[in-house]
Symmetry: C3
Subunit: 651 residues, 3 copies
């Protein structure tokens, strides 16, 4: 299926007499999907049980008449004010014990079962009222789970739920005490109901206490979603159920939740995401109006994996947003280029947020495809251009498996937030650094979960900074015949957040004869240079090993060791070192690469290669041997330019 554009629309924000003209213009601009409803509960049910669904049905009618397919969002991210009167204890509680009140959004506690029932009720009502509508194209559950740090609540409901979850998991408190190592600091419990949440302590909690609370909280998000999914699938088995994830909010396991969705989607705001990221100031300056050239791409690959191969952009930044400290206008053309990058990574739909800029409420400064006065904003023209180009390119092949994969693991994100040992050490940071180093060479990458049972077909797989081996991953490693890059810190813990008996990286001697015996963490500005180029920063392990030393630092500490095709990296590298290590692996694995100009990135989909120029200057593409001409653009790329080449292999 050729990919298409979508848009987010709020009929409840506008006089009904605007709807028809809006729908007509959407259709004209080439939009095919319209998401509505996800914040409309107070207009669907203004008072308890007083249902007002007619307007929504009329809105879907109008949209449908213009050939648009509608995605209906269940409105559970914004329970109306009367719901708080009904369930006063459903409000979330922050880590300081303060109840978060009504007046914005996501004001509910995932552990509150009464609200979970209310969410099921409104979902059922919508499914009954709209499930048969011919314009219905699918469902979105809730909106942006976890956004604003809402995965965690420190409420009584969460405490009771957590105690119950622990009892289910450990069976007896003695087992828990042993698994948690509660002999340490006399932390033994006598009963499950004594176990509190890991907030407001004198000093840091036991890391497994913190990690189990994160696991529990993640499970509640998944359970909340499953309730809606089950209702929607029972009613309309053929319509896709989607959730719009928020890349940055990794507090729940997106892979795990995705057991109860059919298609993953995510909300892509490249400029704001760069602004709030940990990237160095130099990168933030360089890509202020473009966003980081690899960050959105990484998440495209991640959510393709989360979505079992099917994914959308549910919200695409169309212009300046409102929620970062500074909200620059994108470089002219970026609203088009971002869409192309997403399509190149396999997106079925790219849906801009939002149709018309809202003149009221919290997001007045968030641009839309239309200005508040209904005139076209630059995003409108970008959408029209993308629609036209999509038809020209006859784009839409399937995504081939990449030759390189990197493991991304939510539990590892949580683990190293809990026990940093070096401020800024993170799982995702290591994953993305490796991802970028491959992508700079035009290599297409897959992002896989830690439950991946086999790496067959990949040339290179990277597993950096993983908390603990899963059974599946040990099997995948054991049977893998390609090149494997492991570490640093990978396998340094058990699932119970304790040090494995044989120490990290906890691999069988026949795979890697190495033990991490010491960890040296170092502040910024004191990186240890590596012979040949680059430096170790933040994290630096000392290993006892019989493996071959491939690289070592200026103090003769091994930085990259190898046993057969298994490579272990002992430190967090700066960009130069990570690039060197990746380059070394590419050479070892004899992997084909492209020679991309600075700022340009590429991705293959089906029979096409898409190039995007993230730089602020024009760039000239180097001819690639496997290409047979351009269907969009050409070798000379403007800033924010897009070039689509047809692959010769397609002939």
């Amino acid at each position: 299926m050729n990919p298409v554009l979508g848009v987010c629309y709020y009929p409840e924000h506008w006089p009904e007499d605007l709807w028809e003209r809006d729908a007509a213009r959407m259709s004209e601009v080439g939009i095919r999907y319209v998401r509505i409803g996800e914040f409309a509960w107070s207009r669907l049910e203004p008072t308890p049980d007083n249902l007002q669904l007619d307007w929504m049905i009329r809105a879907v009618d109008v949209l449908g008449r213009h050939g648009l397919k509608v995605i209906i969002g269940t409105p559970t991210a914004t329970p109306p004010r009367w719901m708080i009167d009904k369930h006063p204890d459903m409000l979330p509680v922050d880590a300081n014990g303060h109840v978060k009140g009504f007046g914005s959004r996501r004001h509910y506690d995932f552990s509150h079962l009464g609200y979970r029932d209310e969410a099921a009720r409104i979902t059922r009502i919508l499914a009954d009222a709209l499930g048969d509508h011919p314009a219905l194209g699918g469902w979105q559950t809730d909106n942006e789970y976890g956004c604003h740090g809402t995965t965690y609540s420190y409420s009584d409901a969460a405490r009771l739920g957590f105690q119950h979850w622990l009892e289910e998991k450990y069976g007896s408190v003695e087992t828990l005490n042993k698994a948690w190592g509660n002999a340490f600091w006399s932390m033994d419990y006598n009963r499950f109901d004594q176990i509190g949440l890991p907030n407001l302590l004198v000093c840091e909690p036991n890391p497994i206490h913190a990690l189990d609370f994160r696991r529990y909280s993640s499970d509640q998000v998944a359970a909340f979603n499953k309730v809606q999914y089950d209702i929607l699938k029972a009613r309309m088995p053929d319509l896709p159920v989607i959730h719009n994830f928020m890349s940055r909010y990794a507090e729940f396991d997106h892979f795990d939740l995705a057991k109860s969705i059919d298609v993953a989607s995510w909300d892509s705001y490249p400029i704001g995401h760069l602004a709030v990221s940990d990237e160095p100031d130099e990168i933030k300056r360089l890509y202020m109006r473009q966003g980081d050239p690899d960050n959105a791409a990484f998440h495209h690959d991640l959510y393709r994996s989360v979505g079992h191969g099917r994914w959308w952009i549910m919200e695409q930044q169309p212009g300046p947003v409102n929620w970062a400290q500074f909200n620059p206008d994108p470089l002219p053309g970026m609203a088009r280029a971002w869409a192309w990058e997403a399509f190149a990574h396999g997106a079925e739909v790219v849906s801009y947020f939002r149709w018309r800029q809202a003149p009221f409420g919290q997001e007045q400064m968030h641009s839309g495809l239309l200005r508040p006065d209904s005139e076209p904003a630059p995003g409108y023209h970008a959408a029209a251009q993308v629609s036209a180009e999509l038809q020209k390119a006859n784009f839409g092949g399937d995504m081939a498996r990449g030759r390189v994969a990197v493991i991304y693991d939510y539990q590892s994100e949580w683990a190293w937030e809990i026990e940093q040992q070096a401020r800024g050490f993170s799982h995702g940071g290591h994953v993305r650094a490796i991802y970028s180093a491959f992508r700079k060479h035009g290599v297409d990458i897959d992002v896989l979960p830690s439950t991946t049972p086999s790496f067959e077909g990949y040339d290179i797989v990277a597993i950096p900074a993983l908390l603990a081996w899963t059974v599946a991953l040990r099997d995948a490693v054991n049977t893998f015949e390609g090149h494997l890059l492991v570490g640093p810190r990978t396998g340094s813990k058990t699932e119970n957040f304790s040090i494995p008996k044989g120490l990290g990286p906890d691999l069988p001697q026949n795979l890697l004869d190495a033990k991490v015996t010491r960890v040296d963490t170092i502040p910024p500005g004191l990186a240890v240079t590596v012979k040949g180029g680059g430096a170790s920063q933040l994290w630096r392990e000392k290993v006892e090993t019989r493996a071959k030393v491939v690289m070592e630092d200026s103090e003769d500490v091994p930085v990259l060791i190898a046993q057969g095709k298994l490579f272990y990296m002992t430190s967090s590298g700066d960009r130069a070192l990570v690039q060197r290590v990746v380059d070394y692996l590419i050479a070892e694995a004899n992997l084909p690469t492209l020679n991309l100009p600075a700022g340009v990135r590429s991705r293959v989909r089906g029979d096409f290669r898409v190039y995007v120029n993230y730089g602020s200057s024009p760039a000239t593409l180097n001819a690639a041997a496997d290409e047979a001409g351009y269907v969009v653009g050409g070798p000379e790329m403007e800033p924010a330019g897009v070039t689509v080449a047809r692959l010769a292999t397609a002939d």
Copy 2:
């Protein structure tokens, strides 16, 4: 009336046998006004209804015998400890929901009506006991409303008061839902009693929710003050009622409160104010011992407007203070220069804080005119010098209207704190930047409220970063024949904090045919240069316009556009750009200027022009054509030097 000096005195801090000698020395040094009593409640009423006013009457007697006029402060800023026993819920609550306790000052909630009655009671008691005293020169209500962030309280009293205020304002909850745009995020209310305060939410509140809470809170401060004013005026109609505002605490509308005062006053601490300001480090270093050369002047002009033309300095910094992170000693002479700057701007009284440095309590490190051992501190000699000079200069003419005015609007301050869009964007910052650019040329400026009905008589008026047009201001603009500088961001919202239908700056086409269609906000260090000099920083609008483009930036985005005499500035300029724009307007309006040396500033009062050298180096004045010799100092100015020239026009 010739301006005079005053001082703040705390008879309750000293043995009664010191009072006579203190009063004699005050008189000797030329002091004419003494403020007392504003923190003395626990000594006036040590236990409930046990009034001990005799000591205060004796203190006023003593002061009066030495020819001093006494301003009595109502002691409502420091309710005694027993008051909390009587009204436990009168304590303010911070934004985290924590009750702020007894043990410092301003520990009351403006929304608490029980305490408002207590404040009325003690005011009435003081008015009755002291209203006829011949030494009485006036009243000060409370002390420094809003100081320490006390305008806002998140208490039950505030919540109930806010709900009532909203009901009064909007009439029905349907009207409120519509005005607030509560369709957004399902924020609709069913009843007024469901509306909470805009704190402790999951993410940011609806901006109109936040702004209405700020309006409500401002109204409570005004209402609290009016209760005292009405009592005092009913008893002694001829004595002025004054409040001492705190420039930096703009959380309530000083213009609005001033409906219930006769004379405005403010507390001027130039060094501490610079230290806690947003000025760049370079300015802080340059003026560490002087304070910013324009900040106090701006507030002098502001409070002259707030006070309907009548204003005082109620507290003038006399030496180092105690409340900034660093508290430098002023440059020798600054205690004199600050007083002269205030008089030049029309101050009737400059009252130093305080007579003798307190050896106990929170402000032990705050200097006075006397040291704790009663010996003269440098401020004592400064005061004596000013007194002598005032008589020499025969100073004291009225303030002429300036030829330039700038609009300062409290609601706009609140609005852009609520919706910054660029961190650091503020209304006041824009106002002060323009003010300074004019003042560097020796231009005298008036600061006007947004309720100003006419600009008649002004050559140039500036209206930067104004939230929304008032009816009055629209009229003033419509009928104005001088040069008008508007923007950026002016008129970009309605009073209900939503985007106007026609977009900002929301002026009729015949005045300015321009629409702001896009806002680009940019982090520090990434300013966009403007052709000809200067740069746009923080805030940058893109406009659709038929007006003439006067300046544009390096990306051809218009920066200053003009239609007739109406100029619209689309960006936040750095100092160089603001100066260029102001210089352009000065040239267009053919406004006379002075050629002031670096660090020197001037102000005309009556027949005199006062020069102050804020620089750390000596400066030589350029002769001004309209001057006829010097009555204080001369053309050679030392650091902190003061020169007073007689105007030739006075002959």
Copy 3:
């Protein structure tokens, strides 16, 4: 007695069948003391009154069989979970009013008398069960009082206790009002039960309110300790009772608590302490893997004084720790060098923390002498080396009194935290700066409390930044015949935190005819240079004096004045200025010094001088006239090198 090594051991963390081998290896490595038990309450009393002491007795048996002496820690720093069920209000409350829960350690309130009784009960039980054990070497009370900021609790128990303490201290509320200066801001109280804790106020509390609360809180820590001490001494008068202080946690008076201990000990983590210190980044970079060369030494001298001459290191860093933002690996050899530095300062025992790295709980990343897999970590070899060297050196003489002393005063630390006036101004910072300036010359220094009754025998005594004179200290100053360095800020307050009538430094005219009349505090980067070298920074006093001006700054403000042998320093000097002042005093006092290479420090104990090279480069010692050869090392020192010279005087 020759000093020896110890180690901290947690038998409850390991299978019992490991104990024997552990004990044997401890003995082999030369360890003589083993601390156990201080976190074991949940294993000693798993449920209320269900005592399980057998395992501990068996552990002591095993250790004793291998010739080890055991220090038993009372487990009161980690009350078990069931204790909270029994005393729900024993949990501490933070300054925001949030109760701190169970799940880490130190979760008790020193003001809670019910818990104080529980602590007495378990102490008595342990004393009864183990007091006669032949392997028992002494007791440790609790663990690290004050760690994690636990000296203060803002609970009801603390409030009631504070009110009672104030009533005991002041007798009547009138006396308190007068002593506190409560006329200021109407802070008068009518009854003691109206006095709250100094947290959650509108602005800062009265400084004496804050200081008295700190005094009260310090007293509660001492009282808590005394309960245990009295029980232990009553039962076993001859066994030493020790507490392990935490240098950085100065919120209670260590001298005062030490009235109820026999031997002081402290927990020395040089690298983490440098990381969390206020030292400039340059120093942090230079000594990242060594720790500050003077900080541990200072605390050695401090705790020797706290311990009435007897002191230990109870926990010595053996490798990387886990609690700083970055936790670097020490330079190879530092675990040895730190021990030698401690012994040189008179330590009886240096006990490494901990025997085996824990694979579970909060401190998994904290290294031990053994790795988690029981293999030797670098610290193991360091310990073995120190043991061997100690025997070679036949080290162990008594500590001679130094010729220089510096006063360190806990109340002064608290006072200037309460009233900084210049951000970063601290008592301890001044003390350590002077200490380091002497130590750079190889001068041995004593650290004395402010209760020191006489300075007889010292050549030079320094008293910087002291809050207020004690009667004892005034006497010591009056009768001192050596050189005295006072100030800045010393004597600037009374014990009631008010300015003394005669102003600071509040010394009799015949000793020093000087009054501080003005304080100028200045931000970083704006230091005022001193003629001849160095600069005044942060704090700068102007004095009225007839004393001789020894140094003055570029604005002619006296920086060092002298009257006879009494010197007063008016400013906070940068390193260069402090060194100049100290050098001047050394010259005046004709004090012998050493010529130490950069990075090298020395200390004399008995007949030996110990040198440690803290630098990252090798260093060559200059021969000292009083030495007669080396017993450990020699004149060429590696980084982290140790050289022990025998003094000729010993022959």
